[in-house]
Symmetry: C2
Subunit: 210 residues, 2 copies
């Protein structure tokens, strides 16, 4: 069964001023591996990809985002027509409460306080909008000792269909050690594996949701 | 006259916690164009390059840095043996006063205050260490209306041999509109030009310092 898959990957960048931003170490590698595997399996794939990531394959349909607001606009456009949304993007949890005009000048004598406010929870928003045939899959990046507990909490709180939890050191790495939890109570895990292998492992579990 | 050139490029990343950081929109394109032009002109080039930039040519000698502290360590190692240091890297001016262990959890109800302190002024430090035969060239990225004034101030304050000032919109762009000022009172400017053309324009002016 060929599905229409919307896959997000890479970091968001939240501006501090005209040149500076807050971001995270997401490389987009996991999302790109999943997109590649989904294409090879015959699914119709659209990718939303952050800045500063590795280049996607040329045969992949890609829209680029910078901030979380950009990603939100792209999701508003593309979510309705997908069957599955895989939210592998590392969306910033915080953004500066106000963005400075121009460039904040360097002052070697002064500390600066930057006020950060929580960003919109894009996964929860999309999950709340999904219709009967749509599935939303989230990722959780957590400290190893809290992984299972936080993943289960996140699955409930965001009301998604399934969650992939992985330890902090997955960011920008070439392997991933996944834990898979679904709202229907399925639980599965595996040893660390290369991201292309993980992509096929994940895809089999997503296809089984249908 | 073949010179030994140490060229820095791209952004630094200053960690907030295990996955998040503050950075800037520098792409490293200007520095890579200068490195390429310098190699073609027969100079001996070592490049120090930030993360998240475009891939350098394979025949270029490159060392990667992440934070400003990493860059400082590389400069400590490589500065002594160079004739010219070209500081095209967009070094963060501020860094979190303390780095959180692990990953700061998302809390949708709470604002966070992030205290930022000024980073070490690497250009000024290197300039203060230079010996008679060494030249240090700085870059200044400024708002267009303050460009000339701030560049002249920076030239004096950092005590470098010359400065290239360019407007804010140069970051991550394909062209550059440079203003060149030296401590000996030379001043030169040009219309916006592609970065490879700028690299040759700059190199001619650096060679003329000898």
């Amino acid at each position: 069964m060929a599905l229409s898959m919307l896959i997000t990957g890479g970091p968001t960048r939240e501006p501090i001023d005209a040149v500076r931003f807050i971001s995270n170490r997401s490389s987009g590698k996991t999302a790109l591996a999943v997109a590649q595997a989904a294409m090879e399996a015959g699914h119709d794939v659209t990718m939303l990809l952050g800045c500063g990531t590795i280049d996607p394959p040329t045969d992949l349909r890609v829209h680029r985002f910078d901030s979380g607001d950009d990603l939100k606009r792209l999701l508003d456009t593309h979510f309705e027509s997908c069957d599955v949304l895989i939210m592998a993007a590392a969306v910033a949890d915080f953004q500066p409460a106000c963005v400075a005009d121009g460039k904040i000048p360097r002052d070697p004598t002064k500390q600066i306080s930057l006020h950060l406010q929580p960003t919109s929870d894009l996964v929860a928003i999309m999950a709340s909008r999904r219709r009967h045939h749509q599935r939303v899959i989230a990722f959780a990046l957590e400290e190893p000792q809290l992984l299972a507990q936080r993943a289960a909490e996140k699955l409930r709180r965001k009301d998604v269909d399934a969650i992939i939890a992985n330890p902090l050191n997955t960011v920008d790495a070439d392997t991933i050690k996944p834990l898979w939890l679904t709202t229907k109570g399925h639980r599965d895990s595996a040893e660390a594996m290369p991201k292309p292998d993980f992509a096929r492992w994940l895809l089999a579990r997503i296809e089984a949701l249908y």
